[in-house]
Symmetry: C2
Subunit: 498 residues, 2 copies
């Protein structure tokens, strides 16, 4: 029963140090002031335009405004208090958040994962946020139920499939987990109700260069990271099909049940493409589910990859933040039939209630940004971006070869350009005992310097027995040759004294 005396929330929410206060509720007035709120939103929009989209994409301004964590925490005054603040103070906070955040759309942000700003996609994202829709039934999301189906259809069409099913998921890791779960369900439908207890040990196969989400997913799904069998890669980082075949046979002989091979098209670090056609033969031989993890974010690359895959194989399971799989499997595998959402006596086609295909209940709308961007540039526009990214990567590689001190890890297969920068003091001294140790320290120092000066950002990492190297991802449609030249100059400038 509602007990309004005891549960006065004002009392409950004040902390011990604060005097209790009483708030008089006027039930005849809404608590939100639309005029004031819209003014605030309007002012925020202006700040976003100025700080994030103008300055944040302008090479005359910094990529990042580095602050030590303690200093930044003080600057931002993050603490949450009992009383609210006036609008002008809040706008200053919006300004500060923008100022000290990394400008991921800046042409000189060349770290992994971001591909510059697309204004149509961003407009779609703003509209998505404002509409605040939950994509689970036609009742609450009529436009987006239909739109998601159409975007998935368009994507399937690009790979040449006339049927299939799919969903937008919250990221690539979630997509990989979906794939594993569906494949497991197809092999052992009883796993949904009975779980893994009593089943034989299941094995997943993936290459040593694949994304770490395969292991994370295996742990989460109760399969276990030890049951992810690592397949060797060749010198270019591509899975070796013969090694896969041998390891599947070995696993079977040891009593495990292989069920899933996770290939990668565009590996995380080197951008390598596993040989899908040969792997498909191995999967067919052993009757395993073949999954392709198309790892790169950014539409253009994804679209290119879809076609690259299409050329190679058919009948694969494709995931790229979106699942595309045989019809009905998603629903059968994930449905829980909650009667409060998926009533059977609705006045429209219940197949439009897509929520039960997902393992989430509430699901954000992710299709609008892609749909609007696709409408704006067309698939030809995507192609143009891909073409350009490849040409930029080629230009960068050519320029690197003309300069001293840039040593490519390998000829790039994709738009990841991996290289060591050898400072002048180390050139020609490859034979020295501590050469690798010294080389390992170069990238971290250059990275620290570029971030503290805010001139650009690029990622580095070790890989196997290869010490720290830079990975330049030539990705953003904002990039020009000037940015490539700047990038090389800047690496030289930051590392010349090392």
């Amino acid at each position: 029963m509602l007990d309004f005396c005891k549960c006065s929330c004002v009392t409950l929410l004040t902390t011990a140090d604060e005097p209790e206060s009483h708030i008089l509720c006027d039930l005849n007035e809404p608590l939100v002031d639309h005029t004031e709120g819209q003014l605030f939103l309007n002012d925020t929009f202006k700040i976003i335009m100025e700080e994030v989209l103008c300055k944040g994409t302008d090479i005359k301004h910094k990529v990042c405004e580095w602050k030590e964590p303690k200093e930044l925490a003080l600057l931002l005054d993050l603490e949450l208090r009992a009383t609210g603040e006036p609008q002008h103070r809040l706008l200053q906070r919006v300004q500060d958040v923008a100022k000290y955040s990394i400008k991921t759309s800046h042409p000189r942000f060349m770290n992994q994962q971001f591909g510059g700003v697309d204004y149509h996609a961003l407009a779609g994202r703003f509209l998505t946020e404002a509409l605040n829709t939950n994509l689970y039934t036609y009742e609450v999301a009529p436009v987006f139920v239909l739109m998601e189906a159409e975007v998935l259809r368009g994507l399937r069409q690009l790979v040449g499939w006339t049927e299939g099913d799919g969903l937008f998921c919250p990221g690539g890791s979630a997509s990989n987990m979906y794939a594993m779960n569906i494949a497991r369900y197809q092999h052992f439908p009883e796993v949904k109700s009975q779980g893994l207890c009593g089943l034989p040990r299941l094995n997943i196969f993936t290459s040593s260069d694949s994304h770490y989400s395969v292991k994370k997913g295996a742990a989460f799904l109760g399969i276990g990271t030890d049951n992810v069998i690592i397949v060797e890669v060749d010198e270019g980082g591509r899975m070796i099909p013969d090694d896969l075949d041998e390891k599947i046979t070995l696993a079977k002989s040891q009593g495990a049940v292989p069920f899933f091979v996770s290939c990668t098209s565009g590996t995380t670090v080197r951008g390598a493409f596993d040989p899908l056609d040969l792997i498909a033969d191995v999967c067919e031989k052993h009757k395993l589910w073949m999954h392709v993890d198309v790892r790169y974010h950014g539409l253009s690359q994804q679209h290119y990859l879809i076609h690259k895959i299409k050329v190679y194989v058919k009948n694969i399971f494709l995931i790229f933040g979106i699942s595309a799989c045989p019809q009905d499997l998603l629903r059968k595998c994930h449905s829980a039939n909650a009667t409060y959402l998926f009533q059977q006596d609705k006045f429209y086609d219940l197949n439009l209630d897509v929520g039960d295909k997902s393992v989430q209940c509430s699901r954000k709308v992710d299709c609008l940004k892609l749909w609007l961007m696709w409408k704006a540039v067309g698939s030809i526009g995507f192609a143009e971006r891909v073409d350009k990214a490849f040409n930029q990567a080629r230009y960068l590689v050519e320029q690197m070869k003309k300069r001293e001190g840039f040593h490519l890890l390998q000829e790039p297969e994709f738009v990841n350009v991996c290289f060591w920068f050898i400072p002048p003091s180390m050139r020609g001294k490859e034979g020295m005992a501590d050469y690798q140790d010294r080389l390992a320290k170069v990238a971290p120092v250059i990275k620290e310097r570029m971030m503290k000066q805010g001139t650009m950002m690029v990622g580095y990492q070790p890989l196997g027995n290869k010490v720290n190297f830079f990975r330049m991802v030539v990705f953003s449609p904002l990039l020009t040759q000037k940015d490539m030249d700047f990038f090389l100059d800047e690496i030289e400038r930051l590392g010349k004294d090392l």
Copy 2:
């Protein structure tokens, strides 16, 4: 190796029906026109303001513009094509998407899950989208790494905890899965590497009124839906601790290993609160992990609930789109230590790289909207919203009791008001043989009528042996007494001839 002849993406991306075209790439120019793009974003913002935030929250305008799926698909012209469209056509599309989407912030949208618009939160969401940050390292998300920690600290403070750990997850279902996975890891750390194979059968306990994500999560995590043991509820929908105790004992005697009890504070349909203090005793007796699923979206309610929970118990595991759990467990349970992200030779404190605590790799920023809203209204402002929601619910119940034909399912414990509407033709005829069958058909017809007329939206569902009833969630800070009165009048108007 980059093979630029073969991989011309223009060729690859044109479909069979279209002539191949050649695009000349100018590497000296970015592909995105900032001026044109910003103009488009500006125009989109104006449409959002007008259609979504002004008309979409104005009772003089419709909550929804119902169209049959086929008609809507035609109106939206969803198809994705090879060529792009001009800006004015794209703006018309933005307008159409806004027009035909449900206005979830409208005062007369009384379906579950939405609590009206908050302009500060929305400003935070716009800024989040524009910054396009991925929350995994301090390097790429300095502001948000610190901000998330502070928001979690603030939330823990509300429940009286001085330490703990947490993450923002993509929704309540994901949070429930996190909780199960962490609890499983705490009981059996070897599960991360070895999986469930070889472990005894694990059991989860939850009430019959709990959210369906518990079962979905159990299936996904390889535990299996049959291993979710359903505990009986009392007449108000609250878990019965004695039944829980008996079922745990029974499960043990059958060789299963109980490890997790998922309680609910504010059940999905009836808004009931499981008796946490008594359940805590049972969990302590059997040494089980106690998890509380605080089901309601909308900050005010959550904050109320936190305090309600605080009053009842301590040492519980609390999830509400955010996990709060013992320190280090998230990292130990979920880490994969990818060397390309979490390099050990960074120039700042590696504890700030929070990405490895998550099962996702890429993770959207969810803290900014809550932080900005909290800064704007303070915890007193949240309290005010809760106070008001409870008062509105009380007002609605009082008014219902004054009218004929409204029959409460039970006295509400929370802001869910569940009721049957008995049409005039059925009043006083409870003894009739087909009474329940006829009553079951009332809510669906009224719902269809309100949606087709666009006057309001409210959810209905059956529950156990109770036939379809309405569930009015008195939630939004935009609601006034006039809206409550309108709601009752409208139900009467739409159902008077049934």
